[in-house]
């Protein structure tokens, strides 16, 4: 009987330990994006437009704004953001504990002060929820630099 009890409790403790391990974000759920390139925006190989570096910088600012939940920075690179969009952005930042964004640029088309950047994006929410999806950024060149005019799928 004593041996049974000991075995039973060992089983319960083991079950709990395994579950807690499974539930530990540090064991399973750390962000998957580890890149030697410090930039969260990777570019395609081959010959790129001269404006590529500046456009990449804007996309890096976008990533930084999302990851740091900085609405002002977001507005600075997307000045056309409406009040409604700003409200939604604040609500989104509030609902997410953490967000890590990695952007992989697929194509970059620059014409007459406008750029169309097609990317795939991989977001890690709250350290565990991973979402990958395509996105298209429309950018325009302003005196202050390249600005995001529109974001679409």
């Amino acid at each position: 009987m004593a041996a049974l009890r000991a075995r039973t409790w060992k089983g319960v403790v083991l079950c709990a330990a395994v579950l807690v391990t499974l539930g530990s974000p540090s064991a399973l759920c750390e962000p998957v994006a580890t890149n030697d390139d410090p930039s969260p925006v990777s570019l395609p190989s081959g010959q790129l437009a001269p404006e590529t570096t500046a456009i990449r910088k804007t996309l890096e600012s976008y990533v930084h704004a999302v990851e740091s939940k900085d609405v002002e920075l977001f507005r600075s690179i997307k000045p056309t953001m409406s009040e409604e969009e700003e409200r939604r952005a604040r609500a989104a930042f509030k609902s997410v504990q953490s967000q890590v964004v990695r952007i992989n640029v697929l194509s970059l088309d620059v014409r007459e002060g406008k750029a169309t950047v097609k990317v795939t994006r991989r977001d890690t929410l709250n350290g565990s929820i991973v979402s990958s999806f395509p996105q298209t950024f429309q950018l325009v060149k302003e005196p202050a630099g390249w600005m995001i005019a529109d974001i679409g799928r």
Binding site: T8, G11, V12, V18, A89, A92, I129, Q135, G152, R153
Partner: protein, 433 residues
């Protein structure tokens, strides 16, 4: 991952494989409390024909208190599979490239909602719940009166009775592991496997009431340690068993969604994997189809569930000593409540849970009237009837980080019907993959 989780279930099953010896089965504790032949008092009196007097006394307590076993077993089957926390669902705002939580609520704790977890998603959890039963049908379990009457009672010597005061300490601890998997976007499959520990301690003080034999103590007495004629004797019996309880399999479908409202349909199938003789399971198959209504609001999400449970035959509902089976009572189970998202990390869950138990044996406090038409004692009897049992539940789900949830809940009675615990705590962890 799935392999690791299967391992956990395997460990639980292995742990439960051992059990106490057949003679120590908890279902026998009350029927055998006074010995294998029941309550027999000593007697030195002889009948007119010279034969010795067999002073055997009977009571509904010993003969029909199997209601206690049934009530206890039905509590074990009452713990619902927690709803997966769809509060972890995020929707993409495509014009900003930002994610917003579709609902802030992590859902109910001891009730259901119609939402499913999503195709390919897995949710798992471990809940610990401990019952310390206090009352049965409003009668304090520490003081259950029962009057034993003589075989073939009649005025005279057979007018004597034995009154007993019975105390029952019953605790049930339950660690339930559950897994919920999204087969499709609208259909979930779930399994819950409880590891149950039941502890039962029964004591009784029996006192001979010499209504018809006051002049002659030798007719009915309890032999004292010194060999004299005593009036009372104490009986005790206790036991403990641990093992796998009844495993429940569930299919739940989200039928339709209209705006924030959703309707779901599900069915629970209960397998008699728990040893009913050790009060670890109900000892019968059970099936419960149910319908769920729920609404997902930004902060407040109401929900309601109605289900009907059919049960097979179990020895607990029959006679554990004779080994005969009878049908466990059918139950209409219903619940309703609110999940309130206080913050993005904290959801309060409030529920009312009810069950209407059909045609089950119920304990009724009565007054025993002796054959002398003067003496009375408090007693119990049993009637067959349907009864409604209502409980309340209040708790919270807290999200410390990632997709981990810490659950805590108290279940409390709202009436005095059935076998009840004043307050039953629950703590647990949930994780969604």
């Amino acid at each position: 991952m799935a392999r690791r989780l299967v391992g956990i279930v395997g460990i639980s099953l292995l742990v439960s494989a051992a059990s106490v010896g057949a003679d120590d089965k908890l279902a026998f504790l009350i029927p055998h409390l006074f010995g294998p032949t029941g309550l027999v008092v000593d007697s030195e009196a002889r009948l007119p024909n010279g034969q010795t007097h067999s002073a055997h006394f009977n009571s509904a307590f010993q003969a029909e208190f199997t209601q206690f076993n049934v009530a206890l077993a039905s509590q074990l089957t009452g713990l619902p599979i927690p709803s997966p926390a769809s509060g972890f669902t995020y929707t993409l705002d495509p014009t900003l490239g930002l994610f917003n939580r579709s609902t802030r609520s992590f859902g109910p704790l001891l009730s259901e909602r119609a939402e499913t977890i999503g195709k390919g998603k897995l949710s798992t959890g471990l809940h610990y719940q401990r019952f310390t039963f206090d009352e049965i049908e409003g009668v304090d379990l520490g003081n259950v009166p029962a009057v034993f009457t003589h075989d073939n009672p009649a005025p005279g010597g057979r007018d004597d009775v034995v009154t007993t005061t019975n105390g029952i300490t019953a605790t049930v601890s339950q660690v339930t592991l559950y897994l919920n998997y999204g087969l499709t976007g609208w259909l979930d499959a779930a399994v819950s496997a409880p590891l149950v520990t039941t502890e039962l301690d029964v004591h009784s003080t029996a006192t001979i009431r010499r209504i018809g034999t006051s002049a002659n103590q030798a007719i009915h007495f309890f032999r004292t340690d010194t060999g004299g004629f005593g009036d009372s004797r104490s009986f005790t019996s206790s036991g403990k068993a641990t093992g796998i309880g009844d495993v429940v399999l569930r299919l739940k479908a989200r039928l339709t969604t209209v705006g924030p409202m959703a309707v779901g349909l599900g069915v629970d199938g209960r397998a008699p994997t728990g040893d009913e003789m050790d009060l670890l399971g109900a000892g019968a198959w059970g099936v419960k189809p149910f319908v769920v209504f729920s609404s997902t609001g930004r902060s407040i999400s109401p929900h309601a569930t109605v289900g009907y449970e059919w049960n097979g035959k179990s020895v607990l509902a029959g006679d554990p000593v004779a080994g005969t089976k009878a049908k466990l009572p059918e139950q209409l189970k219903y619940s309703g409540g609110l999940a309130v998202a206080v913050t993005g990390n904290l959801t309060l869950a409030l529920d009312v849970l009810g069950r209407w138990v059909r045609d089950s044996k119920r304990l009724v406090p009565t007054t025993f009237h002796a054959l002398d038409n003067r003496t009375t004692f408090p007693d119990i009897s049993f009637v067959q009837r349907s009864e409604n049992e209502l409980s309340g539940a209040a708790g919270f789900k807290f999200n410390p980080r990632g997709r981990l949830l810490v659950d805590a809940n108290v279940l409390f009675r709202l009436d005095k019907h059935g076998l009840r615990d004043k307050v039953t705590p629950l703590v647990g962890l949930e994780y969604g993959f």
